[in-house]
């Protein structure tokens, strides 16, 4: 999938809440539980289904954290792949409807 076209949205099946800057995420379907670090939390919170991943990395991650843009993009893609495999994030090359409020 060309990276420019990646859209991500949070699944409606999950529960999530920030605790001291880190996001707790639980998938009720299989009870997998994750905590996300600050960078991952930034991507997760920006996963509105309308903003391309590349834009999230450029406008959020690279602005808030001192990271190399190319490395950040690669890490973000890996993170998205992992969370989508657990049903936490929905991934598409088309804009997605956001199913959650935050």
């Amino acid at each position: 999938m060309p990276e420019d076209c990646i859209y991500i949205a949070r699944s409606s099946a999950i529960a999530a809440r920030a605790l001291a800057g880190e996001m707790m995420v639980m998938n009720s379907a299989d009870s997998t539980f994750f905590t996300l670090n600050e960078v991952a939390t930034t991507i997760f919170q920006a996963a509105d289904g309308r903003t391309p991943l590349r834009e999230i990395v450029r406008d959020r991650v690279c602005l808030q954290f001192d990271v190399d843009p190319e490395q950040a993009q690669a890490d973000a893609e890996q993170f998205v792949t992992e969370l989508s495999s657990h049903g936490i994030l929905l991934v598409s090359n088309q804009p997605l409807a956001s199913e959650t409020t935050r």
Partner: protein, 377 residues
Amino acid sequence: MSLMSEVGQKAFNLGVPIAVHLDVTYRCNERCVHCYLDHDDHGEMTTVEIKDVLDQLAEAGVFFLTFSGGEVFLRRDFFEIVEYARRLMFNVKIKTNAVMIDEEDARRIRELGVDTIQISVYSHRPEVHDAITKLPHSFERTIKAIRFLREQELRVTIANVLMTANSSDHAGVQQLAAELGVQYTLDPTITPMMDGDTSVLSLRIPGEELPEIFHNPALVGSQEEFCAPPKPPSEEDLEGYSCSAGHSFCYISPYGDVFPCVQFPLPTGNIRQQKFLDIWNLSPEMKEVRSIQAKDLTVCSSCSHVSSCTRCPGLAYMEGSMRGPSTADCEKSFYRTGVPTANMLQQGLSKPRTITGKSAPLIQIRPIQVLPITVPA
């Protein structure tokens, strides 16, 4: 320590209310003989009020949200409330007797992404279950609902409250749970009525019967570990706290009253008059609850069981002092290990006296965390 425990500890240390139990009604279609609630409606929060509470809880950092009652499905707006809670991304658990859940409801519960449904089942024998709930055919309806929920692949836990009427039925209920493909837990219940009436405590299992339960590996896991004699308390133990009540957990009634716990009827404020976070952060009662360390306990600080006892500060409060002992927990510690507690020794007892008066109950074997926790590399 599991990731879940680490997060729980972090919330505790930060004073974040990570888990809240919200009763949406006290009305009920069953009349369980041991129930501590007044089932009349004295002015439940409206749909709008509850949604506002949920907004505030999300803002406060609440993650684990339990909806209970009364019977939650007696509220016509219950699905609307759950849907709203899920949109706010709470991890939602529902406690219900399930008699009103049909196939369509089960499908909707799955679609809403509810984590767990905990259902009270008192016996594998319909006549015993129905005699406790006082609702004819309730066993049949509850089991039917569990099957609907399982068809939707939802996670269901059977909560089995033990009392005199069903004390020998736990093995049968465990087997029933296995047949239905659901989890089983002994549920801590049989507390005095909310108005302080302790008559329901006569239903509790006599202490002499507790060893049979405490030495049953099917109920407590490793008997060696569970029944081990208490270790001498360390400095760290004496700096410790009883439980998460008021630290990272609280209870909200259908009328908006906020308490440290379901089993701790110390009013700390009302959400109709104050913001939740103001009550949580500023209530003198809440602050007092969270200030109490093991070393501050009047009797228990000198007890050999202090580091391993399940002492419930709410039950102690109902006995007269939140810093005092909870006699029911003294009883459990004794029957679990055979070692008398400081509270018993102070009264010159070598074994617990038969309790009929102010003592609170009973069995509080806490369910073991059995859900798989995955930590990404």
